[in-house]
């Protein structure tokens, strides 16, 4: 503790001397705040809640740890490198903007940097990770003015950019996961021969095969890095709901509409619309429902709006998965609902605060 303090002080005096280096003050300030907290005191109210944005974001990361560990087990130690690359390159963009804007560095990036690699295919080349995360942070967040002002979830923006730009890399190469013994904890990567199997969603779309739910829950099928071991995601998501970090309305509305909507259409187009439970358990739906759709900045902020947004998410996801040319519809539906969030909120507010003519 003393060591960190001394190092920071030494660095502070060092960069204070030179004009070029002193621009990097936000980095040191961020580190200082990260380690030592604040000495500021509250006005009225005389005491405030202990939660702060750091703890808020830390809890999201804690909730992602089971899924991340499972990802390492399934896909090998290469996943660690992918995560590191995501953090480093995303962090560079964040720092560059903080330096240019002369603003402090915000913690929201810590979550983006971890979620982004989890929604990439396991065999993704390193340069693609770097390009994707930089694009996502830059155009998903910083151009709008940074944390709190972004319209789209940065991780989703990065992922969609990659899907559209490099469809070959992003949708064709799927590995088989490790399922036995210590698996990925002692391997770098599954052998290249195991490449190009199909994901459960693609299997259903092309051949009408429904993968067993147990396999889906335990991550024995190909898929994106963090989305396959679904038990870990459910545990993490429930943890967030219980600790009140995320709003339970969005996941609930999302699951409910995904479960009900295909059920209604199943009788007509049963080859196109998969069963609701299968839809929930396949693809990136669980991860997205708990960790991305609930991003408080980009989802609607009114409670009614959150219900509406969740239902729209489910509706769009099922529609895109079943009818469009894409196999997976989660990320597009989140992007669409993010774009619609201000509209949803405005409508909700209009209804809620319509001018009262007389006493209700």
């Amino acid at each position: 503790m003393k060591f960190i303090k001394d190092t920071l002080d030494a660095l502070n005096t060092k960069i204070g001397g030179s004009k070029a280096l002193s621009k990097f003050k936000p980095v040191l300030t961020a580190l200082d705040e990260f380690f030592f907290g604040t000495e500021k005191v509250a006005g009225v109210p005389h005491m405030v809640d202990r939660i702060d944005i750091k703890r808020f974001m830390t809890f999201v990361i804690i909730a992602l740890i089971p899924a991340t560990l499972a990802a390492i087990y399934s896909w090998g130690l290469r996943v660690v490198l992918v995560i590191l690359i995501s953090y480093v390159f995303g962090g560079l963009v964040e720092v560059a903007f903080a330096v240019v804007r002369k603003k402090e560095i915000h913690e929201g990036f810590l979550v983006t940097g971890l979620i982004f690699p989890l929604i990439l295919p396991p065999g993704v080349p390193f340069w693609v990770v770097a390009v994707g995360v930089m694009f996502g942070v830059l155009f998903g967040k910083e151009v709008f003015g940074g944390t709190g002002r972004n319209i789209f979830n940065p991780a989703i923006v990065g992922r969609i950019f990659l899907t559209i730009s490099f469809p070959n890399i992003m949708t064709m190469h799927w590995q088989q996961p490790f399922t036995k013994g210590l698996g990925g904890f002692i391997h770098y990567q599954n052998s290249i021969d195991a490449v190009t199997t199909a994901t459960p969603l693609a299997l259903f779309k092309n051949q009408g095969i429904v993968t067993s739910y147990i396999d889906l829950l335990f991550g024995r099928n190909p898929g994106c890095i963090g989305e396959t071991f679904r038990i870990a995601i459910i545990v993490g998501g429930l943890f967030l709901v219980i600790s009140r970090i995320i709003d339970w309305r969005i996941p609930l509305a999302y699951f409910a509409s995904v479960a009900i909507f295909p059920f209604l259409s199943n009788h007509i187009l049963h080859t196109k619309f998969a069963h609701g439970y299968f839809q929930i358990l396949s693809g990136g739906l669980l991860l997205a429902a708990f960790f991305m759709a609930t991003d408080p900045v980009t989802c609607p902020f009114t409670k009614a709006g959150r219900w509406i947004g969740g239902i729209m998410l489910g509706f769009l996801t099922v529609l895109i998965r079943s009818i469009s040319g894409y196999v997976e519809g989660v990320m597009f539906s989140i992007l669409l609902v993010n774009a619609l969030a201000p509209l949803i909120d405005t409508c909700v507010l209009k209804v809620r605060y319509r001018k009262r003519k007389s006493l209700a």
Partner: protein, 499 residues
């Protein structure tokens, strides 16, 4: 009749705070000098009827004006008027009568005509006793009498709410106020109030966790059909008038106006006890029971003090001075910070809270388990283990960050407005009818939004500046309230005094 528990939407329960005042009462010694403010509670300031050099007795009326809305003010000690001067008292310029205590008897002068058998007194006499004792000035509406003690008359009162919810982090102890004989006195007080406000339905609101008291009261009240008993969850800000009226009466509250405007009078338990001692024992209101709360007070007890005692006299030797302190009056969320210890206490005091002014930085504060920290989120151990007392301090515990629209402020807001949305409008300068329509004037300044914000944004303050800016543009509170309510006594309304 005992009614089922009910509650309101939003709010937050502050539980298990360290340093809650124990139900022990100690009489504070008579101070060597007292400063008596000539404006007490919600009343107007009145002119003194004594002058420099006059000898006064404890309980003697030193200021009285029957023409404005105010109650008489008494000297709380026997002594000599040393000076009458204007001082800055809670951001108001108030005249104070400074009295130096002499060696005479400090036994207060009793009121004339009080009676053990108050049932035999005329209503007029009872009202006079309540008025002359000064009890009628208590709480936010006062007790209406025919002596202009409130903006309405006793006959206009439709509902009388007496509450001891105790929804603040620190409260005066109900067990102390209503123990043994006091409970019987309290009941007599309630009956006296019913006598002078015959048209009023009486609602008695008690903290739902005090089962024993509720049981006793229910037994005592069984044959009064005009009396309803409501056990309420002590969820902050349940004790606010603005929350009691909708919860109990299912009626909308004219935010920003006094409850008296809609014919409701809301009193504390202590006020009812004072009514009893005025009418039955002839005691003028010169003493207050004050709870000393918070971890920075050596003994968390209740003190019986004379009104006008300077703070230094009350607090000397009772504070832990190892760390720097913050002393707060009545409420940790909205109370005044008490800096000047030469100022006196008045009739509005009920708690004095001392917490640490914590400017210390904490290593990796955001990773702590938090066994003794309070949070609206359930991200600390304290939400799961209720065994340890929570330690409040004044540190912000985090850096200010942009709003992430997490919605906590909306969830806790007791009046269903969206603080973060309004704050964004105000900060970007969009001050127009929209925010009025979004209910900015409904804000009751309970401070919960500022409390829960993880980005440490001072929402309550931003909303307040928004209101001020809106008023400068000609949009007024009255535009949201007056068309919807039939308010009484509105021309005499001078704004609610936050107690």
């Amino acid at each position: 009749m005992l009614k089922p528990t009910r509650t309101f939407k939003g709010g937050y329960s502050f539980k298990n705070y360290a340093g809650t005042a124990l139900p022990i009462i100690v009489e504070a010694p008579i101070p060597p000098y007292t400063l008596i403010p000539l404006k007490q509670g919600f009343g107007t300031e009145i002119k003194p009827s004594v002058k420099k050099g006059d000898a006064v007795r404890a309980g003697q009326i030193i200021a009285k004006n029957d023409r404005t809305i105010a109650s008489p003010i008494h000297s709380s000690v026997s002594g000599v008027v040393e000076d009458i001067k204007r001082m800055n008292y809670f951001k108001r310029d108030v005249a104070m009568v400074i009295i130096r205590t002499d060696n005479g008897s400090q036994e207060p002068l009793k009121l004339e005509g009080f009676s053990q058998e108050w049932g035999k007194l005329s209503s007029e006499k009872i009202e006079e006793l309540i008025y002359l004792s000064g009890v009628s000035s208590l709480d936010r509406e006062g007790i209406p009498t025919r002596f202009k003690t409130s903006i309405i008359l006793p006959d206009d009162v439709k509902h009388l709410i007496i509450h001891g919810v105790g929804s603040e982090p620190y409260n005066i102890s109900l067990d102390l106020l209503l123990e043994g004989k006091s409970l019987l006195h309290f009941f007599q007080g309630v009956q006296i109030l019913k006598r002078i406000m015959p048209k009023a339905k009486v609602h008695l609101v008690i903290n739902a966790h005090k089962r024993k008291i509720i049981e006793q009261i229910t037994k005592l009240a069984s044959h009064f059909e005009w009396l309803d008993i409501y056990p309420l969850e002590p969820k902050y800000p349940q004790g606010y008038d603005e929350m009691l009226v909708p919860t109990i009466l299912n009626q909308r509250f004219p935010y920003g106006y006094s409850a008296a405007n809609i014919g409701v009078v809301i009193l504390n338990i202590q006020a009812v006890l004072e009514v009893y001692s005025a009418v039955v024992e002839g005691m003028p209101l010169i003493e207050r029971i004050i709870a000393l709360c918070g971890p920075c007070i050596k003994e968390n007890i209740h003190l019986k003090v004379r009104v006008g005692s300077p703070l230094e006299h009350i607090l000397s030797g009772r504070l832990r001075t190892e760390t720097s302190l913050r002393i707060v009056l009545n409420s940790l969320l909205t109370g005044f910070e008490l800096n000047d210890f030469s100022l006196p206490i008045d009739r509005t005091f009920s708690q004095i809270i001392a917490i640490t002014e914590n400017r210390q930085r904490q290593f990796l504060a955001f990773l702590r388990l938090g066994r003794r920290t309070d949070s609206y989120t359930r991200t600390f151990l304290s939400s799961w283990l209720n065994s340890l007392d929570k330690l409040p301090d004044t540190n912000l515990h985090g850096e200010e960050r942009p709003c992430i629209s997490c919605g906590y402020c909306e969830e806790v807001c007791p009046v269903s407005i969206i603080p973060h949305l309004l704050a964004k409008y105000v900060q970007r300068g969009f001050i127009d009818e929209t925010i009025m329509n979004y209910g900015i004037f409904n804000c009751i300044e309970c401070g919960l939004c500022s409390f829960v914000c993880p980005s440490k944004i001072h929402l309550m303050k931003i909303l307040k500046t928004g209101q001020e800016k809106l008023i400068m543009q000609g949009c007024d509170r009255s535009q949201c309230i007056l068309p919807f309510f039939d308010l009484k006594g509105i021309e005499e309304y001078r704004g609610v005094t936050k107690l």
